[in-house]
């Protein structure tokens, strides 16, 4: 089964409101899709490594335990790097920082984007104009050069990198959440709650938020992939935290220590494969959830969708 389409039944737009979060709506399409399930498995393995990995490593992963660029052997399953440290240990240690950056940065983006999107969609009018104009400007300014410039000016610590990535990637989320909030706001039960005298805060928290949160979660999973990717860029350009180990820094070290000239493929391949697997897994999971949740993206009699996170034209008009 392909990861980009799912056969989830359409959400009934007129159904009575559920105040609680629809966890089943998020989980069901993922559980039904074979490749998404596989992706969840991959991600689970890496999360496990990130949490318990340090327990599996004896001592400092950066410690010199063998020769420089020793090929894979029974002692060092993935060989050693340019400093004589075990590649396997480094990879396991790197999982923690890479995933930490991915998850935290995505959470910051989701928080900013979600807030902007919900406020903009719920209140409309001048709030909407101001917020969306700002979002539009930041949507066009290229993300990677901006991240690089900010990192060059402020970077060099893991938390700085997390914040930098987090404050750049909120624009997609804001647009998506705005469209969804606008459609929720118009539904009958929200109107009814308003007629009964519910205030704005109550409407947003009790009625709008539970309806848009699943989509926000799906989008956040996609953002994790972006954030991990961005971290490898920043680190590769020498702007990462020099004291920590991440997959990005392992790729950087392989390049700087001339793994290429030494023909040490084992120092180059594994960190990239790890990044690839996590990015792939997050992309597949996020897309599958979003497909099932976002009715706007389901059109025609063949339920298929565009690949990217948003459809700028259509959502602008909505």
């Amino acid at each position: 089964m392909s990861p980009v389409q799912t056969g989830a039944p359409p959400v009934d737009e007129t159904s009575s409101p559920t105040r609680s979060l629809k966890w089943r709506a998020i989980a069901a399409p993922v559980l039904r899709n074979k490749s998404a399930l596989f992706a969840v498995g991959i991600l689970a393995v890496f999360i496990f490594l990130a949490i318990f990995g340090p327990l599996l490593i004896e001592g400092d992963p950066k410690a010199k335990v063998g020769d420089v660029f020793e090929p894979p052997s029974r002692q060092f399953w993935l060989g050693t790097d340019g400093g004589g440290a075990s590649m396997l240990d480094l990879l396991i240690a790197g999982a923690r920082i890479s995933l930490l950056i991915g998850f935290c940065a995505a959470a910051i983006s989701a928080l900013i984007g979600g807030t902007v999107g919900i406020l903009s969609g719920f209140f409309g009018g001048r709030t909407d104009t101001v917020l969306m104009r700002t979002t539009d400007y930041f949507l066009v300014i290229p993300d990677v050069p901006l991240i690089i410039v900010i990192a060059a000016l402020f970077g060099r610590s893991t938390w700085n990198i997390i914040v930098i990535i987090g404050v750049i990637y909120w624009t997609f989320t804001a647009r998506l959440l705005r469209a969804q909030t606008k459609s929720v706001r118009e539904r009958v039960y929200v109107q009814r709650a308003r007629a009964l005298g519910a205030g704005n805060t109550r409407l947003v928290v009790r009625h709008v938020l539970p309806q848009v949160t699943p989509l926000l979660i799906a989008n956040t999973v996609l953002l994790i992939a972006y954030a991990i990717f961005a971290e490898t860029f920043i680190t590769f350009l020498g702007l990462g935290d020099p004291a920590t180990i991440s997959w990005g820094s392992l790729i950087e070290n392989a390049f700087k220590d001339d793994a290429i000239i030494n023909d040490a493929w084992w120092a180059v391949i594994p960190p990239g494969v790890c990044v690839m697997l996590v990015v792939l897994a997050c992309t597949i999971i996020g897309q599958t959830m979003e497909d099932a949740l976002n009715p706007r993206l389901r059109t025609g009699h063949l339920s298929v969708r565009r690949f990217r996170v948003l459809r700028p034209k259509e959502q602008q008009e909505s």
Binding site: S2, P3, V4, Q5, D136, Y137, F138, V140, I141, P142, D143, V144, P145, L146, I147, I148, V149, I150, A152, L153, F154, A225, F229, T232, F233, F236, L237, G238, G248, I251, F255, A259, I260, D263, W265, V268, I269, P271, G272, V275, M276, L277, V279, L280, T283, I284, T299, G300, H301, L302, S303, V304, R305, R306, F307, R308, R311, K313, Q316, E317
Partner: protein, 324 residues
């Protein structure tokens, strides 16, 4: 007249974005602790040199004064001088720009041609082995960090087919004899091909997925069903009714992905020591040569804004339904 309104609106928006970028560029580089000069790293950068730079940059004036001076200079095309070499930044950018453009163009062209071709085929033959191959291949390339793919290509491919892996030209060329035009061209292409291929493959992954989804969506429209029912040939349905409509959103999405193209180009140039804008940015970061970094950031941002504007106008021209 249809469109005058739209064009004016989009151009104004682009100008607004340019202004935001310019201001952001000013604010970011003034918000750092210390100032632009104190972090400068080079051999000849003594304390006196830094003091002198501070005065020439006007860093002793008030922020507002600095901002107006910055805007005025920019309006005159004056982006300052490199802190290290004293050369005007516009000169510093010129040579690398000429080196980068052909490489990025080659890579993007490769990605568009192959991405569109495979994406259309995958959507047309939906669910077959070909479709699955394209889908997983696309997802695979899409998930690879470009700098890593570059290293892998150098490691496994470059040596075997004997292509150079660094620089933009053979240093020995032209020492003993005067090389002909063809010789120089071949040499440049040989140096360009691997970075372009790396960038192209990563983009190919993204484009093929975009095209496939757009195409699938279009093929699900009612007018496709109608054209099938009319008895049009399969090829004609896919090409004339499906492809042409599916390409509309693809134009916008490709323009939006340009920020990513540039990011990829920077790291790829670094891997291949290809002396373009990307390598210049890396060097400027390394030496904290902020005027060069600022100018490069503006250049990259302006080009993305311009391409987005062009994509918007193109979309408008091609799709009569857009009335906004």
């Amino acid at each position: 007249m249809r469109g005058a309104d739209f064009v004016v609106k989009r151009v104004l928006f682009a100008l607004g974005t340019v202004f935001v970028a310019i201001t952001l560029n000013f604010v970011l580089f003034r918000a750092i602790s210390g100032d632009a000069v104190s972090a400068l790293r080079c051999r000849q950068c003594t304390q006196e040199f830094k003091e002198y730079q501070r005065r020439t940059l006007g860093l002793d004036k008030s922020k507002w004064e600095q901002y107006t001076i910055y805007l005025r200079d920019l309006a005159h095309g004056n982006m300052g001088r490199s802190l290290r070499t004293e050369e005007p930044v516009t000169h510093v950018l010129w040579e690398p720009l000429k080196t980068t453009i052909p490489m990025v163009a080659l890579g993007t062209l490769f990605a568009i041609v192959f991405g569109v071709a495979t994406g259309v085929i995958a959507a047309w033959r939906r669910g077959t082995a070909a479709d699955k191959g394209v889908l997983w291949g696309g997802l695979g390339f899409y998930s690879m960090p470009p700098q890593w793919l570059g290293l892998v290509i150098v490691l496994f491919i470059a040596g075997r087919i004997g292509l150079p892996t660094s620089g933009v030209k053979d240093p020995t060329l032209g020492i003993l004899s005067d090389p002909g035009f063809i010789e120089v061209l071949v040499d440049r292409l040989e140096h360009m091909i691997l970075p372009a291929l790396t960038l192209g493959l990563v983009l190919f992954g993204e484009y093929t997925l975009i095209v496939r989804s757009a195409m699938l969506e279009t093929l699900g429209e009612d007018y496709i069903l109608t054209s099938r029912a009319k008895g049009l040939k399969n090829w004609s349905t896919v090409w004339r009714h499906g492809f042409r409509n599916a390409m509309l959103p693809v134009i916008t999405l490709i323009a939006l992905s340009l920020g990513f193209v540039i990011g990829g180009a920077i790291t790829v140039e670094y891997v291949f020591s290809y002396p373009g804008i990307g390598l210049l940015v890396v060097e400027a970061i390394d030496q904290r040569d902020y005027p060069v970094l600022q100018a490069a950031f503006l250049l990259l941002t302006f080009s993305v804004i311009l391409f987005n504007l062009v994509a918007d106008l193109l979309y408008f021209k091609l799709d009569p339904r857009v009335t906004e």
